[in-house]
C-alpha cells in the first residue's frame, strides 16, 4: 500500500484510481439492482400466473422477456400530471426520496470477497463502515418520508389515509426489527456486515440462521412489512384505498415508487442473506482452496442465488396470503413481535453467557 511519505505525483495517481474503482463499483451495483428490479416485476407476474394456473406475460419477446422493457418505456413516455391542488415540489420530492433511499442502502452490503485485478485488490463492497447495520436502519427509516410526503402532497384523502397507515406500519415494525437484530449482534459482536459474513465463513461456525431461527423469522416478517409487501401492503390496498399513496401519480414518478419497492425487496433479501445465511459464503466449499478471483465470482453468484430464493419466497407469500386488517397488523407488530423479540434477545444473552463463563 502506498503511504503518505511518497511523492505527490504517486499520491495523485493512486487516489484517482481509488475513486474510479469505487465509481465503477457503484455504477455496476446500481445498474444491477435496477435491472434486477425490472426483472422482478416480470418474475412476479410469472410466479403469480404459475400459482394461479395462468400463463402470465408471453407476448413481448420470447417468453415475454421484453415485457419489463416495454413497461418501463411506457412509463417514461407518459404524460406527467401534477394535480392543481397538490403541493408541486413535495409531489416531486416524494418519489425521488423513495428512490433515493432504495438506491442508498446497497452501499454497505458486501457482494463478494475481493477481486485481484491489475495488481490491485478490489473489495466488492462500496464502503466497509463499522456501523454497517445501523447505516442500513438509518437509510431505511428515511424511506417512510417517501410514502408520507407523496401521500400528503397529493391532497387526496385516500392518499393521505394510505400514507398515514403506511408510516405507522413502517415505524411499528422497525422496533421489532431492531430488537430481533440485537440478538444477532450479541453473537457477532460487530455491526460491520463484512465482519458478520467473515465470521460465518470461518470453519467451525455455521450460518447464523442455525443459532437465531426465531430472530430470523421476526426479522423476515418485519422486512416484509418494511417493504410494504403483501400481506402487509396496507399503504397500497387496491381494494379499499385504490392504490393508496401513489394514486395521483403518473409517468416515471409512479414508476419510481414501484421501482423503489422492488429494489427494496432485492436489498432486503441481500441483507437477510448476509446476516443469516452466510452472505457470499458458498455452502460446503472451502473458499481458501480456490483461486481468489474464482472464489470471489462464485461467492457473488452464491449470494445472488440466495437473494433470488428470498425474492421467490416474498412472491410466494404475496400470492398466498390475504392482506391484514389495520388493527391485526398493529397488534402483530406491537403486541406479539416486540415481546417475542425481547424474549429472544434475553434467551440468547443467557445462553451465550452460560457457554462462555
Amino acid at each position: 500500500m502506498i503511504r503518505r511519505d511518497l511523492n505527490g505525483m504517486t499520491l495523485l495517481a493512486f487516489d484517482w484510481i481509488f475513486l474510479i474503482e469505487k465509481l465503477v463499483l457503484i455504477a455496476v451495483i446500481i445498474t444491477a439492482s435496477l435491472v434486477i428490479a425490472m426483472y422482478e416485476t416480470y418474475a412476479e407476474r410469472k410466479v403469480a400466473a404459475w400459482m394461479q394456473d395462468r400463463r402470465g406475460p408471453n407476448r413481448a419477446g420470447p417468453f415475454g422477456l421484453l415485457q419489463p422493457l416495454a413497461d418501463g418505456g411506457k412509463l417514461f413516455f407518459k404524460e406527467e400530471i401534477i394535480p392543481n391542488s397538490a403541493n408541486k415540489w413535495l409531489f416531486i420530492l416524494g418519489p425521488s426520496l423513495a428512490m433515493l433511499t432504495a438506491m442508498m442502502t446497497c452501499a454497505v452490503v458486501p457482494w463478494g470477497s475481493s477481486l485481484h485485478l491489475f495488481g490491485r485488490v478490489i473489495d466488492l463492497q462500496v464502503a466497509d463502515i463499522n456501523i454497517g447495520i445501523l447505516y442500513v436502519f438509518g437509510v431505511v427509516s428515511m424511506g417512510v418520508y417517501g410514502i408520507m410526503i407523496g401521500g400528503w402532497a397529493s391532497n387526496n384523502k385516500f392518499s393521505l389515509l394510505a400514507a398515514l397507515r403506511g408510516a405507522s406500519q413502517v415505524i411499528s415494525y422497525e422496533l421489532a426489527m431492531g430488537i430481533s437484530l440485537i440478538a444477532l449482534l450479541m453473537m457477532t459482536g460487530s455491526l460491520s456486515m463484512k465482519t458478520i459474513v467473515e465470521q460465518q465463513i470461518a470453519n467451525p461456525h455455521w450460518w447464523n440462521i442455525i443459532y437465531q431461527p426465531l430472530g430470523f423469522l421476526i426479522f423476515f416478517t418485519c422486512a416484509m412489512a418494511e417493504c410494504n409487501r403483501a400481506p402487509f401492503d396496507l399503504p397500497e390496498a387496491e381494494s379499499e384505498l385504490n392504490m393508496g399513496y401513489h394514486q395521483e401519480y403518473s409517468s416515471m414518478k409512479l414508476g419510481f415508487y414501484l421501482f423503489a419497492e422492488y429494489i427494496n425487496m432485492f436489498i432486503s433479501s441481500a441483507i437477510m442473506a448476509t446476516l443469516y445465511f452466510g452472505g457470499y459464503d458458498i455452502p460446503f466449499v472451502n473458499e481458501a482452496s480456490l483461486a481468489p478471483n474464482t472464489a470471489a465470482i462464485l461467492g457473488v453468484l452464491s449470494l445472488l442465488t440466495k437473494i433470488f430464493i428470498f425474492i421467490f419466497v416474498f412472491m410466494w407469500i404475496r400470492w398466498t396470503l390475504p392482506r391484514f386488517r389495520y388493527d391485526q397488523l398493529m397488534d402483530l407488530g406491537w403486541k406479539k413481535l416486540i415481546p417475542l423479540a425481547l424474549a429472544n434477545m434475553l434467551i440468547t444473552a443467557v445462553v451465550i453467557l452460560l457457554k462462555n463463563h
Binding site: S168, S251, I338
Partner: protein
C-alpha cells in the same frame, strides 16, 4: 489538499473517511434521479386540461380538501415509536460489548429491559395500542 487526504484515509483503518464512498454513491444516486425526472418531464406529452388537473381520486368526485385534522391514534403511534426506538438504540452498544461485560452487564441490562417492559405494559393497559372501537 483535503480531498486527497480523505481519499488516502479511505483505504486504511476504520475512520470517518470510510464514509467517502457513501458520499460518492449519494451524488451518483441524486444525479441519476434528477436526470430521470428531467428526462421524463421532457419526453412525455403535455396536453393539460382543467379536468385533467383535478384530483383524480379514482374517478369519483373529491371530498373536499385533504388538509384537515388527522386521527390522534396515528400521532400516538409516532410518539410511542420515538420513545421505544430510543430505548432500542441503547441496546446496540450493549450488544456490541456484550461478551466483555459478562454477567455483570447482563443484570444491569435486565433492569433496563424491566423498565422497558413496565412502560410497554403501561401503554397497553392504557389502551394506547387498541385500534378496534
Amino acid at each position: 489538499m483535503s480531498l486527497m487526504n480523505i481519499l488516502l484515509n479511505a483505504t486504511e483503518g476504520n475512520n470517518a473517511a470510510n464514509y467517502f464512498p457513501i458520499g460518492v454513491q449519494l451524488i451518483f444516486a441524486i444525479g441519476f434521479i434528477a436526470t430521470m425526472m428531467i428526462a421524463t418531464h421532457l419526453l412525455g406529452p403535455k396536453r393539460k386540461t382543467a379536468d385533467k388537473l383535478e384530483n383524480f381520486a379514482s374517478g369519483i368526485p373529491t371530498h373536499g380538501n385533504a388538509r384537515q385534522p388527522i386521527a390522534i391514534k396515528y400521532f400516538l403511534v409516532a410518539i410511542l415509536f420515538v420513545l421505544f426506538d430510543v430505548e432500542v438504540i441503547f441496546f446496540y452498544p450493549y450488544a456490541v460489548n456484550f461478551r466483555a461485560l459478562g454477567w455483570d452487564g447482563f443484570w444491569k441490562v435486565l433492569m433496563f429491559v424491566g423498565f422497558f417492559v413496565v412502560g410497554f405494559t403501561y401503554i397497553i393497559k392504557k389502551g394506547a395500542l387498541t385500534w378496534e372501537d
